[in-house]
Symmetry: D2
Subunit: 412 residues, 4 copies
């Protein structure tokens, strides 16, 4: 008799194929689920493979549009960046993938979900917190945290042997000496030879971006139009080409950014579980958007609103990184950030060249920029004398502090 | 009889030369003071000019070394960046310049200081808060905020006429259609044709950095060594060349960064007085250091210490921008940030190329990075089962929240 | 010919009566405006006095209901408290009063507004920022900042003489040796003999609360019901009496709190203009609400939402204190805080006795409190083993830190 | 053969006595350790009991002085308060107790430590994080999280039976229908009948404070002197009595506060593990100190330093509550807070009466309070005209915002 039904997040690779078979061995009915979030993948082949390995049902789900609109766009609004550098390409995909997995589990009456994430990483947390948040009674099978599993499969060799024994097709190409994770937003590389933080990344590692050294010798100039902090149109100035649906916009920015080698970073970051890890990321379109959004936001938002929103954005990035997308606090913060973006409308012109994004100019119907007020040539509605009082009053505290210091100095 | 002595921050240019003469006309004895903080300038010519215009005394002060050590270094430690983009090159110079001006005023028995900063900008505030903080009884003459002055000198033409009339040498080259401010850390450009935020900056504007398009086709690879969050050595890997005094290190980074077009930004920012202004900045060495420091810091600092320090850094940047370097809160924050950097030691390797800085690797005797702990290949001192409990406990709140939402949904 | 029309915030007292006459002397038409925000006042007498002194028009406006609903309630939601102690009773009244003043000015076509606030205080800022925010072109006449005025009226004697000369009725009772400001929310006392921060407040100073020593010897027990963070009903448990409109609720809490001497504080605070001042406040109803709201909020809000909201509340209190109620950032923060209160529903029982408020119990249909989950007697949906993993993972960082410290210690 | 040596945090009560015997049964050598942190306890009896139950060694350690100086004092400096109400009396004792436990474990060569904290509470975390931080290799035995233990001892009856069987003296008095934790700083009450958050606490629950209703009818007036944010002397004004060592000061404040019923709170709080729990606390001396310190701090600290320090204090309170006293971030924050207190010197006079603390006045040689500057009667070194400019400049943003809003309103 079956122990119950598991919805397994299945990638088609060696690990999750072994997990599929192992779960069956353990007595579960297995439904596989593979999300298309923009990674390069032969989805048909993966479907057939899962079926051939005994999956009761196979779901291949194209989540690309919702990934962009419901997950990437709020991150753009938030200027979400972890530890000042990482644009959270993996983190933002996890709740999107797990949400659909939970929908399938509920719809198929499955009590279990399973995934192939390791026991030292962030992804296990991001997946599972989403699952518990959306389906509190769900039971999660994380084989890489189950001693019987991880003691049995200590190295890749063990998986290969198991695969051979159970008729799981074994990859013929040699595995890269690192692991990677790809989606529409980015590719990440870590582990293996990259674990030594001093080792430079090999030149042939990057798949999504060209090397800046090999990138075109002239820039592409784009205009990105925002509405409520979200891009609604991108236009290639010279070519006149433009895109205006979320998925098209983001894909096109990936294309341009990728061509110019934009968005490569090599960092050491702090995982939620408390260890430092080294990761290499390429986020071409996301990087362009980060810069463009920052520019239009500063142009249109009041200084103090932006300051508060900036603090919320830092918190949002931590929540996202740690896997709390579906949490009361993240819902609250997303609401607040969305509110802050009400007037973030306008167009940014920028140039993309050799790994870099250069803002060239901006305009907005809602800008708080007042050319007359700020002008050095005309006075506008501004009396320079007021600045004297402003400075004097701001100095009150400083002068008192000095007076007291002086008092003390002279007494001692 | 003299109204008293004024120490005037003198640049040698048309504006402050007119101010010098005007102050004399108004009945003051004028001492001029020109700080060398790394700008391109003919200091001898400026000295002669001031003397010829009737300055009672002329001070030319080389502040470059203290500018780097006492002002730029703490900003590097703080990762000081204003509104996520501006590295504060102008802001950080102001307290350095004004401090010396106050020292001269005290030493010369001057009751007044004066400067040529405009009434709409940030610099007037930065100068004057420093003055009031260090010399509470000082009186400040800011001609561009005095109606008799600014109503007399409405445009450049008025200054030119006044100059001619008073034997002030008039510049022969045409003024650029924008204003600029240069020091060792950066050059800023604003006003004039740049006031339209949509107008692209002309290609020939930049003086400190080469255009990325014209930059060398191969990168320079550097190793920067940090001690307590401050660079103590930079080495050009291929050429073997190295620098190890603060001024040399910073100048060399400017040279390398400048050659590769690093550190150009075009932004709209929020001034302290509440208006938005557009500024274009080039900060070659500072940009390299910002990236290198960020990398070594994340590598060596505990995650939570870094998070708190990051918040302090944001506050520090605001204080710096707004002119509060000499304030009790900024002294306090600098102390705390300095404390946080105690273990920020190590070396970062990076590549500089076509406007961009790429981190390549890092090493440190004090890193909290634990290669064995994080490894995907060995277990280290880590039990993956613990992660299950960690996730379950983190999910307690999320499940409760869902339960309650569900309760409410089902009841309504 | 008239210089124009001024709407003067008029209190009926000596100062603003003199200002009224002085403004007329200066050539203005004067409209007086007196807001009823709950202070003890003979409004009819004030009206007659203004008319007799030549006011062109006299407005007496009862703002008590809107004061409670639109200003006090959001402050309760925010748990607004300045520097950990001050419940902002004066601050919160200012935008309410000035808003109506601006409405009158617009409606009457007045280009000017005027007030009797001093030049060292916070109120001038709170009034004027509200005016500028709501009526950017308005011109403000603040006599206590105009040298011709304040040099003429150096002490109270000068005002008395002026009053006598101009037929302004002179107060017959001796002025208290401090100044006070009263409204529905509180009375504040400052200046005069209170300026010495060491001097104890005299026992007869307080007007709104009984001395705790003279308060009843048995408590009153109340139940306050909240909906979205705002009180909708208060019931006296023993007497069965209840109130359910905002103004009634707040007035009743003042009555009960006042009877028991609740809400007296004696503090030194930091003014926006940078000086420290000493203030004594009594806020009976507001203090009860502060405690009750805090209790129901912690009971119903998710921990992390509350934490973020707490940070926003601190910012809100600063904005309120500094006069920025009508600012983009304060509107934004009020929106966010209001959003956070969506589930803050429920009832709090509390006892009021001898100057203190004691929370006794609480209940809510939306509480996240789960009696079974937290119980020490039943296990609920909780596996204690999970806590081990939770702790171990939280210790990862700490152990690494210790390891490194140890490494260093042993090496040095 | 022994499995090794365990240092057991032993209270002398039923639970830890059973744990002692159970650990022996399981094959461990058991050393018991009982910290005197000011709780009422017959330490001699506990010693004899532990010996009679087979403890290999018994440590009774008087930690009261270090508890006050090294743990309570920094919390006073920080104004540490959790969720705006809880003064952290339990939290602050845990690292103090566990530190000594670890010292004993190291000194006695024990590989294990054990405690009787439950699996749902905060204390397990506070104990264990301290242990892991100070002795990373230690192994922790938490019986209430071990299924064999907690399934065997489901209710108190099971413990009683086990006790009888193993010769453990059984308490003769009936257990209170709640659990409590006492130390020098406070007593906490929770669980049992208190788990219903609506139930009022019984009048006879409190042991450390008198009921305000039964408290004396006249206040005690104290003067507390601070040096660097820490009390160095307390004087009873009328009686002339004073105390000047940390332990004496704190004990005396407990006595006075206890007599007047000061420091009782009934709250629902958020545990680190994500559940809400109800706790009742009495913290007499700590509450007096909290108020007194707040007063002297606001009197002496610069406004902006205090604001930053306040934010650090909130973080510190969370760390303390969650068990992170011995963490890099808490060490860092303690350092910063300590730095902030350098000038927090002075005397506060206060009255303690019927459950409440009233600040009466304060004085300090280092105060930033400037009586002349703030005076309404003399002008001091202050020009009221400056305030006009200050306000006008602060209004620039607000007027721009309104202008834009108006623009939009009129266009739509």
């Amino acid at each position: 008799m079956s122990k119950g039904t598991v919805v397994l997040a299945y990638s088609g690779g060696l690990d999750t194929s072994c997990i599929l078979v192992w779960l069956k061995e353990e007595g579960y009915d297995v439904i596989t689920y593979l999300a298309n979030i923009g990674q390069e993948e032969d989805f048909d082949a993966a479907k057939k493979k899962a079926e051939s390995l005994g999956a009761k049902k196979v779901f291949i789900e194209d989540l690309r549009a919702e990934f962009v609109e419901e997950f990437i766009w709020p991150s753009v609004q938030a200027s979400a960046i972890y530890e000042d550098r990482y644009l959270l390409g993996t983190s933002v995909a996890r709740p999107c993938i797990a949400r659909r997995q939970i929908q399938i589990a509920r719809q198929e009456g499955a009590q279990y979900v399973s995934h192939g994430a390791t026991g030292k990483g962030n992804d296990q947390i991001r997946f599972e917190l989403t699952c518990y948040a959306l389906y509190p009674e769900v039971k999660i099978i994380a084989p890489w945290r189950i001693p019987e599993f991880y003691n049995r499969f200590v190295g890749r060799k063990d998986l290969m042997e198991y695969a051979e024994k159970h008729g799981i097709p074994v990859p013929v190409t040699r595995k890269a000496p690192w692991s990677m994770d790809a989606n529409l937003m980015h590719i990440s590389y870590e582990s293996g030879i990259l674990e030594n933080p001093k080792t430079h990344a090999p030149a042939d590692l990057y798949l999504m971006t060209k090397s800046p050294e090999d990138a075109p010798n002239s820039p592409d100039v784009l205009e990105i139009e925002f509405k409520k902090g979200v891009p609604i149109k991108v236009t290639h100035i010279k070519e006149g080409k433009s895109k205006d649906t979320p998925l098209d916009i983001f894909s096109y920015l990936n294309e341009i950014g990728g061509r110019h080698g934009v968005g490569r970073i090599d960092i050491v970051e702090n995982r939620f579980i408390g260890m430092k890890s080294r990761g290499i990321y390429e986020t071409p379109g996301g990087t362009i958007l980060y810069h463009a959004h920052l520019d239009i936001e500063t142009f249109t938002l009041d200084r103090e609103v932006r300051r508060i929103k900036q603090g919320l954005g830092v918190k949002f990035a931590e929540m996202l990184y740690n896997g709390f997308w579906y949490s009361p606090e993240c819902e609250f913060v997303r609401h607040c950030i969305d509110k802050s973006q009400e007037s973030v409308d306008g167009k940014v012109q920028l140039s993309v060249f050799k790994g870099q994004v250069y803002i060239l100019g901006r305009e907005s119907p809602k800008s708080l920029y007042n050319e007359e007020l700020v002008s050095m040539d005309v006075q506008g509605d501004y009396d320079p004398c007021d600045a004297s009082g402003f400075i004097k009053i701001n100095a009150v505290r400083l002068r008192e502090h000095h007076r007291l210091q002086g008092d003390h100095r002279s007494k001692h």
